[in-house]
Amino acid sequence: MAGNSQEYISHHLTNLTYGKLPAGYVRHHTDEQGHTHAEELSEATWTMAHSGEEAAAMGFSAVHVDSLGWSIGLGGLIMLLFWRMAKKASSGVPTGMLNFVEMIVEFIDNTVKESFHGRSALVAPLALTIFTWVFMMNFMDLIPVDVLPTLFGALGVHYMKVVPSTDVNVTLGMALFVFALMIFYSIKIKGITGFVAELTLHPFHAKNPLVQAIFVPVNFFLEIVALIAKPISLGLRLFGNMYAGEMIFILIALMFSAGIALGLMAGVLQWAWAVFHILVITLQAFIFMMLTIVYLSMAHEDH
């Protein structure tokens, strides 16, 4: 049972990976009779990973097909919905879905107006994209953990992680994009000298140039840590929350196979955790959006 559980969990946490196996890597195949064959690759090969070890061996030249696929699919879905509604929108009476979409847009617009004090055509649409997209990605967490992997397993796809925001690549990717925007706007608004000055002249400041010269590296170290910490914490916060949530769902799902009493309890727990998670996924999407707005607002502020 313990081995099975471990297998079950790690299977759920392995991405469907496509990448390049290096030359000389030994692949292990298991055929129908349960025999294991070893095959040494004569040259670097682009292929689907058949196990977590293979995926790890691929290193950086690999793509999580499931994370990226779901992420693009969900983002595309929400963008398509908003695009259709944007085409439908007029100054007349809004109906049905358009009402809902406008409610979200108004909510985002108000939030941006409250927190972002510069003028930018980018921040509000950026916030809308983040909020809706991250929400959609998080929402996949509410689908019972075995449904989609089983479905894809029946189609011959052996690994399927359906919640893109439990993939650190996805969350860090978004955070790094935000980070790039922060740097871009900092330099655009304050100039390269202003940006450097912001990094080196705070928090310690002295009138004496000699003392100031000593402070510069100290300031730079402190500020650069603070700067780098922003995207890291932004990406890891979302990842950590969603990963932990997913983990709990997997652990609860394990209980279903442990007798009627535990199974019933698991049902109750699953329901309770899912209800709680409705709050978590919305909150995390909102936090990601809010922090992005705040960071960009700071980048726009000239001291």
């Binding site: 030249s61 690999a62 963008m79 944007a86 617009d109 994209t129 990717g173 790094l176």
Partner: protein
Amino acid sequence: MNINMTLIGQIITFGVFVWFCMKFVWPHLLSAMQEREKKIADGLDAANRAERDLELAKQEAGDKLREAKEKAAEIIEQANKRANQIVDEAKENARAEGQRLVAAAQAEVEQEANRAKEALRKQVSELAVAGAAKILGKSVDASAHSELLDKLAEEL
């Protein structure tokens, strides 16, 4: 927790979605919403204005009505006054006419009386002449004594 090219893929995807949202979604939705907001505000404004106009019109109608009533009252009063005046005039005329008639009648009566006196006087003088002629035994030439007779008649 493998960091790999998924990261790059996600960054590119993110960029594309943000660009798409910025280009095709946000401006359309927001402008439509702002336009509608303006339309509604205008509508409410117009309703307010109409209400104010109605209020003004009502007030004006009330003023006009009161004015008309006042004028009507004035006209009626004038008419009454005129009627009284006419009645007074008529009374005055009637009285004057009466007096005139009375005066005329009196004058006629006086004239009649004078005429009667004259006739009487003439007869008396004739009688006196006849009496004198009888007394004197001869006729008195009326023409010769007419001066005398006339004086007599006047004295009577």
